[in-house]
Symmetry: C2
Subunit: 377 residues, 2 copies
């Protein structure tokens, strides 16, 4: 394990695209217009055949790689995999990252101004789901002159978007890379999301989702949601190895302040996240996870859905991921095999649970790199 200290792509800039063709969402609601914030790395080739779309997970955004001129320490969340000579090789590919619709990093979302009221959308922002994101991303592809993606890639909720791309726009995806994902959430997955949402929804500072107008933020609820999320992102073994039963100050307090290092870690993570993330976006992202279930369109038959795809597939899971365990990836692999698709599968032995997909592990990265070697650019 090595940590990438410097960005491979160097200076980057966020861009903004405005779309004023109304977007009909899965719910039936119509979003009249929207902005998407995005970044690109590398050069689009003449026939626009070397583009890779990176889809983000629950708390991700468009700043995938590189750093900003005025924020040299703000390095993209997946910088370790993007750059010259890196698995998503910017010498060969044109990489696109965006902030999803409903997000809180610049794209239109609950904190944006609702043109109908002149006030932030808040709770009135329509529910967006994975297929809605894919449709909005297809328009971004049009905007960039990309007819077909060389690959669509993502981890966790990002992997679900990649999977959805492959069956919603089969003619526009050559390769689909689905990492640490699942074909749908289990009851336990939904239950964790439910507790996280209830923490936010019942926070007195939530004001029914219209907290912006009250100059308030449901910080307590968002903090709890993130703390809980962190438990599910890490493996039991990793938490044991990292914190064990270690005490922060060597002694028990016989009270409810922080005694154990793991408490200190969770509070830090929760506070940090609650300081910048938007609670309405958190609600929306977790609901999009709950609702994701493409097999529903074929009465639960995932194979029948996957038959629509025409891309090749790489599916990656991690041995210690208990949020979306390797078994969940194998459900996808089985459906793809039954649908007679070309599928490669790697179950990678990494100790870092669900979060393994973000790590700079040589073997993991070599699997992605080897797969992308065969993709023409």
């Amino acid at each position: 394990m090595t940590k990438t200290q410097t960005s491979g792509v160097g200076l980057v800039e966020a861009k903004r695209a405005h779309f004023d063709t109304p977007l009909t969402l899965r719910s039936g609601e119509v979003l009249p217009a929207y902005d998407l914030v995005y970044e690109t790395y590398g050069t689009l080739n003449a026939d626009a055949s070397n583009a890779i779309l990176v889809c983000h997970a629950l708390s991700g955004h468009h700043h995938v790689a590189g750093h900003y001129a005025d924020q040299p320490d703000n390095i993209g969340w997946w910088d370790n995999i993007v750059g010259p000579g890196r698995p998503l090789d910017t010498d060969r590919f044109f990489i696109v990252g965006l902030n999803n619709l409903g997000g809180c990093h610049g794209s239109t979302g609950p904190a944006s101004i609702n043109p109908a009221t002149g006030k932030p959308w808040g709770a009135d922002f329509p529910m967006v789901t994975v297929i809605d994101w894919v449709h909005s991303q297809a328009r971004l592809a049009d905007h960039l002159g990309i007819k077909t993606w060389a690959a669509v890639i993502g981890g966790s909720l990002g992997g679900m978007q990649a999977l959805r791309w492959s069956v919603t726009y089969p003619e526009r995806v050559k390769n689909t890379i689905v990492i640490a994902a699942a074909p749908y959430l289990t009851a336990q997955n939904i239950a964790f999301n439910d507790v996280a949402r209830q923490a936010i929804l019942t926070d007195p500072e939530f004001y029914g989702g219209h907290y912006y107008e009250h100059n308030a933020r449901p910080v307590r609820g968002l903090r709890l949601a993130r703390m809980l999320g962190h438990i599910t992102y890490l493996s039991d073994d990793q938490m044991g190895a990292k914190f064990g039963r270690g005490l922060r100050n060597g002694n028990l307090s016989f009270g409810f302040d922080v005694d154990f290092q793991v408490e200190s870690y969770l509070h830090y993570q929760g506070d940090k996240f609650a300081g910048y993330f938007d609670a309405n976006t958190y609600l929306l992202m977790t609901r999009a996870l709950d609702y994701f279930d493409p097999a529903r369109e074929e009465n639960g038959d995932l194979t029948a859905v996957m038959k629509r795809a025409s891309s090749d597939f790489l599916i990656v899971s991690f041995t210690t991921d208990w949020r979306f365990s390797p078994e969940r990836s194998r459900e996808i692999v089985s459906a793809l095999l039954a649908a007679e698709k070309n599928v490669s599968y790697a179950d990678i032995d990494l100790a870092f649970g669900h979060d393994s997909f973000l790590l700079d592990d040589p073997y993991y990265h070599s699997v992605i790199a080897a797969y992308l070697q065969k993709v023409p650019s």
Copy 2:
């Protein structure tokens, strides 16, 4: 699986014992006096050699079996295992259940009046730990004329009390039955407890633990804590089998109200619990869990601690329990074997996760019954 519909022991009554010898707690604090509420079933024999102590888990209490004259539907929480001909056979044994110190079912706890102030203890109630409970239970044994327990039994946190009894009062325990427990909590276990506590501690209605005086209750936080607890008590498979992705009303709401049956279940359980349980007791019980780690007294050597015991042991785990997995029970078994104790171990294949210990399963109950058959009464 059959559900016991009628109590085996019939009408029961709660009793109260007052102890006015000060109790020095592990923290160093001294509780000047306290009450314990308890129930007994069966008849203590002439030499008081047939008594079994039932220790309760996080949300349990003294009402282990039977029902009350004025509350015929209020059947004890472990009634299915206690009664004539049942594994804890009241024709042979004298069964004792109590509400632990710090509890909220009648024994002295945070909601009791602090004699020093004339107001509820609230946050000033001293932290009680598993060894403190064992000391207080030893006094209850004295009060009942029981010098030696034929057995001490408990599930989860109750099993930890049983384990603690075996090494703290080795001369007073003939048999120790530890079900669905662990020798200490992992970092992940502590992390879940931490989120639950933070939900309560950051609830604006908590008032630093003195909510009684504000005529308030941190209901939102307690509800979240219980919802989260329920996820860890059930197995992923069981939640899948029981709820799957079933929708409450057949359709998605495209909002944050209850869509999935599992959400409905969790809200019901959370609301019910938050309606009657005391938040300060919840904090205290989870902290007692975090602090439990008898091996600390021997620099982490559980075998060295268990060498102090003179009882025989039955250790029981459940295959689908991921809160305290079978591996955790086997840590206890290994230490007992290394300490050259007589130990029986059963890993029982039940689908109900941690909560399996409360179930009326014939095989599980036959294991307990068979073990207790050999115990003289």
